[in-house]
């Protein structure tokens, strides 16, 4: 195994960049599928942080929690896409500005 040349701060900086891009997408996009993309990016930034800190402690529990997190994210995407399909069938659009009556 090669020695680790990257430092913890590098991983954290990449994670912060991904988080910022995800929040930008969540704030500006009105397309429901693109908002789902942004959520995926934020979740992946969190996973990257977990793995990086788990490597530098070092501890196996970070990797275990990342596996749980990936599985939860998969479930969330499945339900989110089902909701988008239902909303598309009702409104014939995936623009979230059109989903007005979901407000109740």
């Amino acid at each position: 195994m090669l020695p680790l040349v990257n430092e913890l701060i590098d991983f954290v900086i990449v994670s912060v960049a991904l988080l910022a891009i995800g929040i930008y997408g969540l704030a500006t996009k009105r397309n429901a599928i693109r908002m789902l993309f942004a959520i995926e990016m934020i979740v992946n930034a969190a996973n990257l942080n977990l793995i990086a800190f788990a490597r530098f402690i070092p501890n196996s529990q970070g990797q275990t929690l990342t596996l749980f997190s990936i599985a939860i994210a998969a479930a969330e995407v499945a339900v989110g896409l089902a909701l988008i399909i239902v909303a598309y069938r009702m409104y014939k659009n995936i623009d979230i500005a059109d989903f007005r009556s979901l407000k109740g």
Binding site: M1, E7, D10, I23, A52, L67, F68
Partner: protein
């Protein structure tokens, strides 16, 4: 200091993350998202977590990306290329992104994270299996139930009531 592989991987990941949000077609956007997720798997490999990297590839690139692609294809064609956006909102979003990047970046660079290095060998991935079967075994069972309920919930949500058996509306 980061090596060249790390730098190339971070450019690929962040560039394709921006492309996934900004490219015009949703189909190319989802392919760019696939590249981002593969880049994250590469980071997992660099952080000596090969098992999690393989899990990431099989779950995200293998199933979620395909799910997103099929959903995009179910949507009407003009909606895929449609891009309505308020320009003021866009500038506000870019400002928010820069504030978060610079603010969190300076906090993190100024913190003590820079001095953390390790000489210890990487965690053996057999330890993950031990974790799953000992300390985290109740969580693993709950996770299985959550996945099952999510799949059933997605199926119930996406079902069409107006189509009976033997009748198709294309």
């Amino acid at each position: 200091m980061a090596d060249t592989v790390f730098l190339a991987l971070s450019v690929l990941t962040i560039g394709s993350a921006i492309a996934a949000l900004e490219i015009r077609s949703l189909i190319y956007g989802s392919i760019a998202l696939m590249v981002t997720l593969s880049g994250i798997a590469g980071f997992f490999l660099l952080a000596d977590a090969p098992f999690v990297a393989m899990f990431q590839i099989s779950v995200y690139v293998g199933s979620i990306a395909v799910l997103i692609l099929f959903t995009v294809m179910l949507v009407r064609r003009e909606l895929i290329f449609n891009k309505i956006e308020d320009p003021r909102r866009r500038y506000a979003g870019i400002g928010l992104m820069i504030i978060i990047m610079v603010g969190l970046g300076t906090i993190i660079i100024g913190s003590g994270l820079k001095t953390i290095t390790t000489d210890s060998p990487p965690v053996d991935f057999k330890k993950i299996g031990e974790d799953f079967l000992t300390y985290y075994s109740p969580a693993l069972v709950v996770m299985a139930l959550i996945l099952a309920s999510a799949v059933i919930g997605a199926l119930v949500l996406a079902r069409r009531e107006d189509v009976t058996t033997g009748q198709r509306t294309d």
